[in-house]
Point group: C2
Chain length 312, copies 2
């Protein structure tokens, strides 16, 4: 089975790694990323889109290799100057990063769609694959916590370092959001859909919550495969494992597979974990840890080869 | 004659020097600057107020001592990143400077008045004297040129390095501008008004063009004194001399004195120039060149002493 066009649903750092793996092995016209924008927020008058920028900086070769987000070698002179004004900025705004936010915010204020803006910015950075926001509408992931009540995502994630206990997650404004024509086209034409090893509840759920997107995913028979973000009982990065426990899930690939159940027909687990018991779908067990560029390309190639074999 | 309260009308670098001289010798509650905002413009979605910021940075001890504008030791990482996106930014936006623009722009978008915003920013930088914009409205100095037609001020001044020949100057939007209550109060209470050695046509004329401001200047008998920006046939800085010639004026203190004629009743010329012939008002001849902090304080003190003697 030839899989000509691939769509990946991605969040931030983990999603960007898979995106980079796919971009290394596929010609750009065959690859589209649909990216979580629930983390986006306004800060000092700038519209900041952390996941979109992480994917863009990663594909553009600009990303900070240690953090996995932000621009390599970036400085914080503007942030330091905000402190001179008595501000206590809690979100790291690099100076080079600010250029992205300025260009994006200016265009948003002029009425351009985020999709159009990201197409222009990625074009200027000579990035081939399409990097699409999940919607052009403003959607805000709100994390309800036991300690502080509802928190905007970045407040929970950065300011409170995901320490509060999560009781529920809400996507504010999602009921008014629309799938963009570009995302709808990509989903209509895709021969396979991958869900990156991003946080299912915080990074992928917002994408799946955009009205109409689930139907576009399920509109035809084709491989729809998620890659586990849980390896050996832990999240490789961020709050996924802590969050699963707080929400009452078992911290395991099986629980992730079951969570995605209605949307996927294949699952990629890590070889470090035992085989899933009575899985509801075909499972590929492999090394899912992407420690370097080669790992990313290898995992992407393994998953695509598995799909082309018919998940056998 | 005791001169309790002083108002200075100021532009950018030259105005900031006089402001700093006055601030060195007067308690802050006795001193108010009314600053040109005709140079203000939108750039990458930021509201930039060059003259206000030059005055603020100078009074706050942050100014770049070589340029006389911008923040000392500032970097340009954001600007460099804009170039990575293929932009060709022609206006220098320092990274630290961007913090000022972000704070200001965010508050303007929230509906705050520029006067209120500048009061807050100067308070945070522990600047005592009031630094007031000439108006809260957006006014744009348009420089009509022989070569390129009408140019926004910064395009003429920075992008084209004031090389085009000026045929006329216009203050777009000034007819809808209002003197702020704060500026009106300061002008009502002032015991003397100084016009800084800023460019009369580009920096002071916009202030005088705000409807009602001339009447507030002239509402009562008191010293109103301008300091020459022309010394020994030249402008100490910027296009004043070139502009005067292009507009058909003789490049001399006399021509500046005559230009301000209706608004002033005293003039400060430089001792390097010959005595004005048949001046229409008292003239103080002194060293008006402010090369360092001491020069600034000395000139401010000399002018105030002259006014307190009754310009004798």
């Amino acid at each position: 089975m030839a899989l000509e066009r691939i769509v990946a649903l991605v969040g931030g750092v983990g999603g960007a790694k898979l995106a980079h793996g796919l971009a290394q092995i596929l010609p750009p016209e065959r690859l589209t990323m649909i990216v979580n924008t629930g983390d986006d927020f306004w800060h000092y008058g700038l519209r900041i889109c952390p996941d979109l920028d992480t994917v863009m900086y990663t594909l553009g070769g600009l990303v900070d290799p240690v953090n996995g987000w932000g621009v390599a070698g970036d400085t914080t002179a503007a942030l330091d100057a905000l402190r001179v004004y008595g501000e206590t900025p809690w979100f790291r705004l690099g100076d080079r990063d600010i250029a992205t936010h300025l260009l994006r915010t200016q265009r948003l204020r002029q009425g351009e769609r985020l999709t159009t803006i990201m197409r222009e910015l990625t074009r200027r950075l000579q990035i081939g694959p399409a990097v699409l926001p999940m919607t052009d509408a403003e959607v805000a992931t709100i994390v309800h916590t036991r300690e502080y009540g509802p928190l905007p995502f970045q407040t929970y994630f950065v300011r409170y370092r995901w320490e509060p206990t999560v009781t529920a997650i809400e996507f504010e404004g999602v009921e008014r959001a629309l799938v963009s024509p570009e995302a709808a086209d990509a989903l209509a034409q895709a021969d396979a859909i991958l869900i990156a090893p991003s946080n299912p509840w915080l990074s992928v759920a917002p994408i799946l919550a955009v009205p109409g997107l689930r139907e576009l995913l399920l509109q035809k028979e084709r491989p729809r495969v998620a890659i586990t973000p849980i390896v050996a009982g832990k999240a490789l990065k961020g709050p996924a494992a802590k969050l699963m426990a707080e929400l009452g899930y078992e911290v395991s690939p099986s629980a992730v597979c079951a969570y995605y159940g209605p949307f996927i027909n294949g699952f990629v687990a890590d070889e470090r974990d035992p085989e899933l018991e009575q899985p509801a779908m075909p499972v590929l067990r492999t090394d899912t840890v992407m420690s370097n560029d080669e790992d990313r390309a290898r995992l992407a190639a393994q998953v695509l080869a598995w799909l082309e074999r018919g998940t056998s």
